[in-house]
Assembly symmetry: C2
Homo-oligomer: 160 residues x 2
Amino acid sequence: MPSLTVPAPVVAPPSAIKASQCRPGTLAGELRISLLRTARRVRMERSSSEITDAQYSVLHALANLGPLTPGVLADREHVQPPSMTRTVAALVEAGLAARSEHPTDRRQVLVTITTAGEQEVRETKRRRDAWLAKRLADLTLAERATLAEATEILRRIATA
Amino acid sequence: MPSLTVPAPVVAPPSAIKASQCRPGTLAGELRISLLRTARRVRMERSSSEITDAQYSVLHALANLGPLTPGVLADREHVQPPSMTRTVAALVEAGLAARSEHPTDRRQVLVTITTAGEQEVRETKRRRDAWLAKRLADLTLAERATLAEATEILRRIATA
DNA sequence: CAACTTTCGTTACCTAAGGTAATGACGTAA
DNA sequence: TTACGTCATTACCTTAGGTAACGAAAGTTG
């Protein structure tokens, strides 16, 4: 894998960016729309249409963080406990997750992802990346470099 | 409003972008994560007002494009006509929009934004963009220019 | 011009997803 | 051990969107 650094902007940015577009207030409005629209489009790409957005989000958390209780899942997803009960029930019903008992507290429940669930997550990621990669392949190198920089900036923004 | 074009990259991009990061497959994976995470974070900053997301979207369209019929609004918002009837009804109820008759076709209806509606758009926009604008203000001008370019590119990707 | 077909907005009814209130089982502190 | 807090769940309600059906107004054709 080559790891040469790109010789700074290969060409001058093709799109003419006005100074006014760089003002935080103005940029925020435009960026927000593009961001949400693109994210929405990417999220549309799923492995199976049988799974809901909220369900996939939970599955994703389980895949990354390991077994979790409905309570902390509800917290993470900014949803009320009864909603999480339903979401978990659907995942269990679909064979993508399983409930098991908590080792020390018998009130609580541990929700665990199944191998089918892991497969679902991998497949969905693959499809989303494929969709994005297809679009990216149509861009110029300079445009992809811009997006690569933007990726870093957005990463900082999201975690700030 | 000043509309001077930014003198190309003010400085060389501070972050070193590797060529490998610009390959569609590689970039897709990184971009997907940053994109979805940031979008999720932005989405979390929801307006605590009386106005719904769909209602705001319609109000925004009316503010930008002038009076429109329920039909074209439904088209623009990717929603079925009955849903748009409800959304428009809510806006009229709240005094943010008004119905008037179409000049040439008496089947159709023209939905117009009121001054209260325009005020609502300004306030809601300011509130919803506040979080993002705050983060953007901490960036350098060059970084904001990069995001402005990325905004354009993402817009094309999402609609392609 | 009269009779049909299409288009537009609306109403009626249904479904999906999330929230609040109440409950039952379990831990914890007085 | 009794009283209280916590966790998941159930029951019920609200909301937003979709489909089917309808009435009024255009357009289309004999």
